[in-house]
Amino acid sequence: MAQDTILETRGLTKEFKGFVAVDRVDLKVARGTIHALIGPNGAGKTTTFNLLTKFLPPTSGTILFKGEDITSDKPADVARRGIIRSFQISAVFPNLTVLENVRIAIQRRRGIGFRFWRSESTLDALNDEALAILERVDLRHFAQTNAVELAYGRKRTLEIATTLAMEPELMLLDEPTSGMGHEDVAMVKDLIKEVAKGRTVLMVEHNMGVVSDICDTITVLQRGAVLTEGPYAQVSADPQVIEAYMGSTEAAAHG
């Protein structure tokens, strides 16, 4: 039997005023794997993420999560099914503390967002859980710092921590290591590998070192369409892929 598919797209397409940003993409993400989505700048990776999470409505095509059609879901409902995304541009809550950033996620999961008559201090009951997550990403000592004051790399790890706090079945990470120094890249790489245990990760990544080290399957997008798919050794040897990347100085600098 083929591997269990957690996420599948059929003919997923997005047009912006006649420009096809995502072109009939058929994607299958196997449960329990780390799946990379790579491709030159403007290939349509972020747009694909926006379609999967319904931040953008697809022009055509269907999205199946665990066999169910989620194409007409609202973004918040996609999240409630267990698909949590991060953003290419760092997405923290700047004037919430690091602890509060993670707590917001736990609050959502526990369904205690609407309690306007209770004191804020009732949220302290979530602190242990939040601190344990911060410990895992090495941010515990910044718990009381406003997120806006963190260095860029730490903001990205905080984002992963917040995503993680949702205990998602499927994590979508858009360039989690972009703009980071070497040490942080290695740290985030190990972190992703560790948190991927027991869940599925679909990530956009420009850093080929990271891709080759932790990703099981790689899908290469080019001009919105799937160019090829397979394990790293196969994909990296594909002449089409090399060709596609030759045109992209950005990727050369990264890879």
Partner: protein, 325 residues
């Protein structure tokens, strides 16, 4: 990464902020408790009603990030319903006030459903349009008595034993209502719900991506704000024994924006200070006649240019700088 991990930087001092809030609250309450000995009680009651109105508005603008330009509809409609309930139905004042606030809450739910999906200026425009509809309804509907308004509303006995005809009793009942409303706003801001509201204001796409149905939160903030604005309007109708078109007029919606911005939006005490400043100005500048609006406008422009965060906003920023955080 490891070397500086043990040096927590720029921690936010929530304890200091809470201490400041508590002290400021004590000072404010002390002033209000002794105020009738020094100032004409009706004046302070009027200011207290507007202060509550501004606090309700600030809950939406300062903490929910939504600019409504139609909040007069909640103030005014609650006033009409309360006045009608007290005068025609003969309800005791506490129930009349609650009925008025409930009407504003219901109106807030309907208006919110229509407005909440719009963003920014479109949201402001829809609320303004809805408020204009409420205004024309108030001009036409028989129960509001058009230009005359509902006059000679009985103050009655609050809770059956407090005779509101006594000006001082009325004053302390208004103060109690204001304080309850003020503390409720404080609690909402500092609640699990308030946290989510803040998160939505800071980064709505991120909140959505975590599964928050952000429109429901904004709607809840809108309804709470409308209900509290209604509480202010209903109380005002009992104090002045009058519900009139002034309170549903669009200029009232503008006035509450002024009060909130002048005092400092997104601060707890700002709207109170802003409301008192504007009501005082109106009182002492009224003799200027038509020059009043111009003077008020000029003062407002100067304040906005000099204190962009509002009076209390600037004060808090200064205190924070002094604390060194």
């Amino acid at each position: 990464m490891a070397d500086d991990a043990y040096k927590p930087r720029a921690s936010r001092d929530d304890a200091a902020e809470a201490r400041y809030d508590r002290r400021a609250f004590v000072v404010m309450m002390a002033l209000f408790l002794v105020a009738p000995a020094f100032v004409y009680p009706v004046f302070v009651m009027k200011a207290l009603c507007f202060a509550l109105f501004a606090c309700a508005f600030n809950l939406l603008l300062g903490f929910g990030g939504l600019l409504s330009f139609g909040h007069a509809m909640f103030l005014g409609m609650a006033g009409y319903v309360c006045a009608h309930a007290a005068k025609v139905w003969g309800l005791p004042p506490e129930f009349a006030i609650l009925t008025g606030a409930a009407a504003a809450t219901a109106l807030g739910f309907l208006a919110g459903l229509l407005a909440i999906r719009r963003q920014g200026i479109y949201f402001a425009m829809i609320t303004l349009a809805l408020a204009q509809m409420v205004f024309f309804f108030s001009v036409q509907a028989p129960f509001t008595h058009g230009e005359d308004g509902i006059q000679a509303v009985p103050r009655g006995m609050f809770l059956g034993f407090l005779d509101l005809k006594n000006q001082l009793v009325m004053y302390y009942v208004v103060l109690a209502i204001f304080t309850a409303g003020f503390l409720l706003v404080y609690r909402i801001v500092h609640s699990p719900f308030g946290q989510v509201l803040k998160a939505i204001r800071e980064n709505e796409p991120r909140a959505i991506s975590l599964g928050y149905r952000t429109e429901q939160y904004k709607l809840a903030a809108f309804v709470l704000s409308a209900g509290l604005a209604g509480l202010a309007g209903a109380t005002k109708a009992i104090v002045f024994q009058l519900a009139s078109l002034t309170d549903v007029h669009w200029s009232m919606s503008g006035e509450v924006v002024l009060m909130t911005l002048l005092g400092g939006m997104g601060t707890i005490f700002g709207p109170v200070v802003g409301a008192f400043a504007i009501i005082t100005m109106e009182n002492y500048l009224a003799e200027l006649g038509s020059w009043f609006t111009i003077t008020q406008g000029a003062i407002f422009v100067v304040c906005v240019l000099a204190f962009r965060r509002g009076l209390i906003g600037e004060l808090e920023a200064w205190l924070r700088r002094r604390r060194g955080t």
